[in-house]
Structures are given as structure tokens and as C-alpha cells.
């Protein structure tokens, strides 16, 4: 009996701690922000850079201190996060799907520090029967994007622009965000033209521009005339190589006309017809701003913040110097609106990135 009483008491205390924890958290004002990149760099022209820019914007607007660490190897994820923790930062932004596990562990170990993970899924862990095995830490939010919707739009654009009816994609490591882009792209292209030939390759490295370029060359050899690059610098390497061979290309994450093609100064910039954007900057901005204002309703601790077409979190970049006909832009606008209103589905599982079964 004694043991049972102890157990009841202990669980009461645990419940008490959990119920007041968010209140305690909310009272902390935040002053400092630290960003840890995925393998890749803050000028990589894709999502690390975009997150960096969002972090700069929000820290300037709310007068916060900001620093960043560029991760060089997977083994360093934990070290880099812990460095930020030990230096006493209040908010730690971790960028990328692959750093998620390290972030989860750090969030559990440091309940008084806020963690925001881009491209990460946060939720209670469950076993096969649906019982909760581990509760998600309340100080940790994952920002998720509907890359499949952005990819769908890019695929539709590619299918409308191709003359050979062959479109291709240079993708990075096969992880959910990349799969969502690819499968979305392929569904989008088939939505316009069910008979289109789809080529694509996953490259097991986000920082191998030369391999991306080589894959793009092979696609051009197979007759592809629109190439989508979705894989950090690997993808950027693919589209710069293709654009310099006068093939239409589509960038990813942010408007690569501005980043990879240096605001149109890099040769081939007239061939980038758009980029499948995910507004990483806006997601980072929203989360840090919510914390800075002490608005805990805007910070879904232990859950995800989903940026989709409805929120304007994903979409296509403008064509800049490329010659994309008005009617194609209008058609894409219609597709975007249909997705934003939920009338059109990308056909991709928004968590795993797998293709959904055709109904």
C-alpha cells in the first residue's frame, strides 16, 4: 500500500510540474538566439541561408543578439547544439531534418531553453498501438512545410514549359522534405500532362555541386529540357550547369535567381524560370517573434507549425529574366489558389513524403 501511495504522489507531482512548466517558460523573456545549420552553409543559396536571413530579420526587429554555427559533419550536430546551450542562448534554431534527433535530445535535457527546428516533426512518440511512449518537449516546435505543394506548382510549370515532354529533377538525400518536393513535382507535372516523361535522381549528398552538375548533364543527354534542382548545393550545382547550357531550370527553397544566380549576374540567369519556395525565413521569423512577444499561443510547443499554401508558406518565385508566357503564370495562379482553398491535393503524404494511393 505504501508503494502505491508513493506512486500516486509521484505522479501528482509530475503532473503538477508539467502543468506549470509552460507558465514558467512563458515568463522568461528571450534575448539571445543561436542558429545551428544543417551540413551546409549560411550562404548555400537554399534553406540554411533562408533560415539565416529570417533569423537576422527577426533579431533586428526585436533587438536580440544573434549568432550562428555552421555544421561541417553529421557527428557535430550534438556538439554544436550543446555549444549554444552552454553559451546560455535562450532560443536555439536548428535547421534541417537530419539534425532533428539531436535537437529532440537537447530539448529534453534543457527544458528552460526554447528550440525551433526547421523541417522537423515534433509530436508525442507512440508505439504500435498508439500509446504515448514519450511526450514531446514543450519547449520545442518543429516548423514543417508543404514542400509537396511547392513541388506540385514547380512540376506544373515544368510541364507547361517543356517542348520535348521530358522533365527532370536533381534531388538531394532521400529524406521527407526532399521526397515531398520530388513527388509533388512529379504529380504536378502529370497533372498537366499525364504522359510526360519524368526523370530524377537522388544524390546522397547536399554539398556536392559537381555531382549535381554531372546528373544534370546526363538528363540533358536524355532530352530533358526543364530541370528542377531540389537538394541544397547539389541541386544548385545541377541547375547552374543546366542553365549555362540553355536549358530551363527551377530552383528550390528560396528564389535562387537572387541567391544562386546572384541577382541575375551569374551566366544562365535568364533560364531560371522560377523557384519552388518554402518560406523558411517567415517560419523562423514567426516562431522567434512569438517568443520575443511572450505570445505562447503563437508557439505550439511540443507540436508543429505547418507552413502551407493557405498560410502563404510555400509558392513559386517570379520568373525574373526568363520568358514565361502570361497565360502559364495565370494557370499556375489558379492551381495555387485551388491548393490554398483545399480543392486540389498534391497527392503526397505531408509527413513522410510518400505518394498517396490514387483514389
Amino acid at each position: 500500500m505504501k508503494n502505491v501511495r508513493k506512486l500516486v504522489l509521484a505522479s501528482f507531482m509530475l503532473a503538477l510540474i508539467f502543468s506549470i512548466a509552460p507558465v514558467v517558460l512563458a515568463q522568461d523573456g528571450i534575448e539571445t538566439v543561436c542558429l545551428v545549420t544543417d551540413i551546409g552553409q549560411i550562404d548555400d543559396g537554399t534553406f540554411n541561408q533562408f533560415a539565416h536571413e529570417g533569423a537576422i530579420a527577426v533579431t533586428e526587429d526585436y533587438d536580440l543578439d544573434y549568432t550562428f554555427i555552421e555544421t561541417q559533419a553529421e557527428a557535430d550536430y550534438e556538439t554544436n547544439i550543446n555549444t549554444c546551450v552552454e553559451e546560455g542562448f535562450d532560443v536555439i534554431l536548428t535547421i534541417g531534418f537530419m539534425i532533428a534527433d539531436a535537437t529532440w535530445d537537447a530539448a529534453v535535457a534543457n527544458p528552460d531553453v526554447f528550440f525551433v527546428g526547421v523541417d522537423q516533426f515534433v509530436g508525442d512518440q507512440t508505439d504500435e498501438d498508439g500509446n504515448v511512449t514519450e511526450e514531446a518537449p514543450e519547449n520545442y516546435v518543429g516548423i514543417q512545410f508543404r514542400e509537396d505543394q511547392a513541388g506540385f506548382l514547380a512540376g506544373a510549370l515544368a510541364a507547361l514549359m517543356t517542348e520535348n515532354d521530358i522533365v527532370a529533377g536533381v534531388y538531394g538525400v532521400e529524406i521527407p522534405p526532399v521526397k515531398k518536393f520530388r513527388n509533388g513535382f512529379e504529380n504536378g507535372a502529370q497533372y498537366i500532362n499525364p504522359d510526360i516523361t519524368l526523370l530524377g535522381v537522388y544524390i546522397d549528398d547536399f554539398v556536392a555541386p559537381d555531382r549535381g552538375a554531372s546528373a544534370a548533364e546526363q538528363f540533358i543527354g536524355e532530352g530533358a529540357d526543364v530541370i528542377f534542382g531540389a537538394g541544397g548545393q547539389t541541386g544548385s550545382g545541377g541547375i547552374t550547369a543546366a542553365a549555362q547550357q540553355d536549358v530551363y531550370v527551377i530552383g528550390v527553397d528560396q528564389d535562387e535567381y537572387l541567391s544562386t544566380f546572384r541577382d541575375g549576374e551569374t551566366p544562365g540567369a535568364e533560364y531560371i524560370i522560377s523557384s519552388a519556395m518554402k518560406r523558411v525565413d517567415q517560419g523562423v521569423y514567426d516562431m522567434v517573434a512569438a517568443l520575443a512577444e511572450g505570445d505562447m499561443d503563437g508557439f505550439p510547443g511540443g507540436g508543429v507549425y505547418v507552413m502551407d499554401a493557405t498560410l502563404g508558406g510555400v509558392g513559386l518565385a517570379e520568373p525574373h529574366d526568363a520568358d514565361v508566357p502570361e497565360e502559364i503564370l495565370a494557370q499556375l495562379e489558379d492551381i495555387f489558389n485551388m491548393m490554398a482553398e483545399g480543392e486540389l491535393d498534391s497527392g503526397v503524404d505531408p509527413i513522410t513524403g510518400d505518394m498517396l494511393e490514387a483514389e
Partner: protein
């Protein structure tokens, strides 16, 4: 000389069932042949064809596609493998001098077989496949030649990777800052300067290596490791301080098609419409071969790499010879680095050489420390790399991760089975101290 009689048992009686390297390889061939016969005849019908297209990008001259009946091709290849395997196992005295040649022949035909079998019922463009294999082989081949110069003179150079990285970083930076200085019509001058800076950067790293490992007789592996780590640090620091604030790319080195030659069917596009560093690769390989084997310099280089004591007795200054060769090797490695930033990508990113320097060393060993052998090794790695991508394009129904292993599996089979024993220069790795 004892080693030779072990591998080529010409003057000793043949031991019938000793499990030699050749017999193991023969067993592997037979296993592959049986696998091909069984799986092929079970899963393919005789009307399946593999279409090899020869379309050259950018040209309108589409050559007729070659249609290979996949099943027949597989069966013929399997029979050849069975035959070669059987001959290699029983190794009758009349033919054993040809066995090595037969095994190499089997290895060579195995390479297109992978592609043809994978593309069953599909079409695949072999022109771009060849062009890409050569392209991806370029940094590996140049890096291997860099290693060759060092190692032939008796200095281990595992710092090729670091030297490449220095070359990639500083070559890129030069063009990056000069592109606004030079008017657009003179950009080629800036490009030339950028390549020169890359070569010098590699050379400077090599001077450090020579200084540590020759003058101070530091362990050559340690010295090389130091340079590799230093290169990662220095170039990342440089990038963060000076390149990050003005982000963006550069114009890549131009393609220079050679008139007439580039119109040769099939190989013209792969060989004669490349970029400058690609052409330089062939030049370097040939020059290295001539210098190493037909000049006094080459003879002395090999002498200090094999028997530095004897060379010294004959009045050759061993350490000076080594200094000069390491410097040349470093400069060549710098050029290999320029391939990454200036020729293919037009950007610089941290650690962008991603291990090519180490693969170059493997190619060097594969090629038994000869220029053309190293080039063959580099081609094999380039081909396997291109093949991993090609498999995905064809849509082989195997998990991506497995396909990405293919290059390495091919490497292991070839290194272990075909190449056999590869002997390094005798004095490699040993600092020379006059008594």
C-alpha cells in the same frame, strides 16, 4: 624477384588446386555467369531489347540507336564468363600466359554488361554516359598524377585532398574578385590568372609538406594529415570572412570545342568539346609518362624513390630532388582543385573536394604508380560514379541507397580481383638522412 614467381608461376610446377587470386576471381566470374543465366532466363523474354542511343547534346545529328537484345547479350556474356572462369581455374600450361589477359577482358566486358542489363527494356544514352565518366574522372586523374610525382620520389602524399581544397578556394577567390576588374571581353585573362593562383596555392601547401616531411623528417602521414586539416580550416575561415559577404558565383571556364575533331561520331562529344582543365589532364598524363620514364629527371626521381642511398652515392642530391617533385605534385593537385570550383560548379563551398584526393590515391595504387594506369583507375571511378546516377535515371527498381553502393562494390572487386599485387616505390614514406 621472388614475388613475381609467386604471382606468375612460370618456372615452378603448377599446384593444381591452390586457391590463388586468379582462381577466386574465376569463381566469382562463374557465380556471376550462373546468376545471369538463371535470373535472365527467368525474368526476361527474348523480345526485350536495350536501346543504346547516341544522341549528342546540342547537335542535331542523331545517330541511329543500337538495339541490343538483352537476353541474348546476357547469355553470350555469361558463356564467355563461364569459359574464362573454367580456363582460369584449370589453368592448363599451354595457355596460362594468356589467363591474365582473359580475366582483364572479362572484367572489361562486365562494365557495359551492368549498364545493358540494368537498362533492359529501356533506352539509355551512352554518349553522355561516356562524357560524364570522363568528366568525373578528371579531378581523380589529375590528383593521382599529383600523388605520382610525390610518391615516385619517395614522399607519401596523403595531402592531395588538402592541396586540392587550397587550389579550389584561392582559384575561385581570384576569379571572384577579378571578374569585376576585368571588362567582360577580357574575362579569359582573369580565368587564366585564377587557374594560375590555384596552381600556386597547391604548390605552397606542397612546400609546407616538403618542409615538414623532407627537411624536418616528420612522419609523412602526419605531415599530410596536418595539411588536410589545415586546408579545411583555412579555406572555411577564408570563405566566411571574405566570400560570404559578397555571395554568388562566377562564370565557369568555357567549353572549347576543337573544330573537326568534335564532329567525330560518338567519341567526338566526349573527348573534344571539353573545358580547359579537362584537356590539360591528357597533357599532364602524357608529359608525366615521358618525363618519368624517358628523361634523366625521371630516372633520378625513381632512383631516389627506390634506393635513395644508392642514388646519393652516385651524386644525386636526394632531398633536393624530393623537394622539387613534391612541389610539382602540389601544383598539379592545385589544378585538380581548380576543376571543382572553376570548371564545374562556379562556386566554392567548404570541403567541396569531398574526398576526391583520397580516391585519387586509390586510383594511383590501382594503376601501380604509372600515369596511364592511374588514368585507367580514375576512369573506373568516374564511370562507377556516373553509373550510380545513370541507374536512377533508367529507373532500376532497386533502393537508391543500394545503387549508390555500386561504385564502391565495383572498386572492391576490381582492386582485389583484377589488379592483384601493387608494389609501391621501395623507399616511399622514409625520410632520407645522410649518415
Amino acid at each position: 624477384m621472388t614475388t613475381i614467381s609467386e604471382t606468375y608461376p612460370t618456372d615452378v610446377p603448377v599446384q593444381r588446386f591452390k586457391l590463388t587470386r586468379k582462381r577466386v576471381l574465376a569463381l566469382v566470374l562463374i557465380a556471376i555467369a550462373i546468376g545471369m543465366l538463371v535470373l535472365g532466363n527467368r525474368s526476361l523474354t527474348s523480345d526485350v531489347v536495350t536501346t543504346l542511343t547516341l544522341v549528342e547534346p546540342g547537335t542535331a545529328t542523331a545517330l541511329p540507336a543500337i538495339e541490343v537484345p538483352t537476353l541474348a547479350y546476357m547469355n553470350i556474356t555469361a558463356l564467355i564468363f563461364l569459359g574464362v572462369g573454367a580456363l582460369a581455374i584449370f589453368n592448363p600450361p599451354q595457355i596460362h600466359r594468356y589467363v591474365d589477359g582473359l580475366l582483364i577482358f572479362a572484367g572489361v566486358i562486365f562494365i557495359p554488361t551492368i549498364l545493358i542489363v540494368a537498362a533492359a527494356g529501356n533506352s539509355t544514352n551512352i554518349t553522355t554516359m561516356m562524357a560524364e565518366s570522363l568528366r568525373l574522372a578528371t579531378p581523380i586523374a589529375i590528383g593521382a598524377i599529383a600523388g605520382l610525382w610525390c610518391e615516385r620520389s619517395g614522399v607519401v602524399n596523403i595531402a592531395i585532398e588538402g592541396m586540392m581544397l587550397f587550389g579550389a578556394c584561392f582559384g575561385f577567390s581570384t576569379l571572384f574578385f577579378l571578374q569585376d576588374v576585368f571588362p567582360p571581353n577580357q574575362i579569359s585573362i582573369a580565368m587564366f590568372l585564377a587557374v594560375i593562383v590555384a596552381v600556386i596555392a597547391g604548390g605552397l601547401a606542397a612546400l609546407l609538406h616538403a618542409w615538414l616531411s623532407i627537411t624536418f623528417a616528420t612522419d609523412q602521414i602526419v605531415s599530410g594529415t596536418v595539411i588536410n586539416i589545415l586546408a579545411v580550416g583555412v579555406t572555411s575561415f577564408w570563405r566566411r570572412e571574405f566570400l560570404l559577404s559578397n555571395q554568388g558565383g562566377i562564370e565557369k571556364l568555357p567549353e572549347i570545342p576543337i573544330p573537326i575533331l568534335k564532329d567525330i561520331p560518338i567519341v567526338g562529344d566526349a573527348l573534344f568539346s571539353g573545358q580547359p582543365i579537362f584537356y590539360t589532364m591528357f597533357f599532364i598524363i602524357i608529359i608525366s609518362h615521358i618525363v618519368l620514364f624517358y628523361t634523366r629527371w625521371g630516372l633520378r626521381t625513381r632512383a631516389v624513390g627506390e634506393e635513395p642511398g644508392a642514388a646519393d652515392t652516385l651524386g644525386i642530391n636526394v632531398n633536393s630532388m624530393r623537394w622539387r617533385n613534391v612541389l610539382i605534385g602540389g601544383m598539379i593537385a592545385g589544378l585538380a582543385g581548380a576543376w571543382f570550383s572553376l570548371e564545374v560548379t562556379g562556386t566554392f563551398s567548404n570541403g567541396m573536394t569531398r574526398g576526391a584526393g583520397f580516391i585519387a590515391l586509390a586510383a594511383l595504387i590501382f594503376g601501380k604508380w604509372t600515369p596511364f594506369g592511374a588514368f585507367a583507375g580514375a576512369l573506373l571511378f568516374g564511370f562507377s560514379d556516373a553509373l550510380g546516377t545513370r541507374f536512377q535515371i533508367i529507373g532500376v527498381a532497386v533502393p537508391v541507397q543500394f545503387l549508390q553502393m555500386v561504385p564502391y562494390i565495383v572498386t572492391i572487386i576490381v582492386l582485389a580481383g583484377l589488379v592483384g599485387r601493387s608494389l609501391a616505390p621501395k623507399a616511399v614514406g622514409e625520410p632520407y638522412k645522410k649518415d
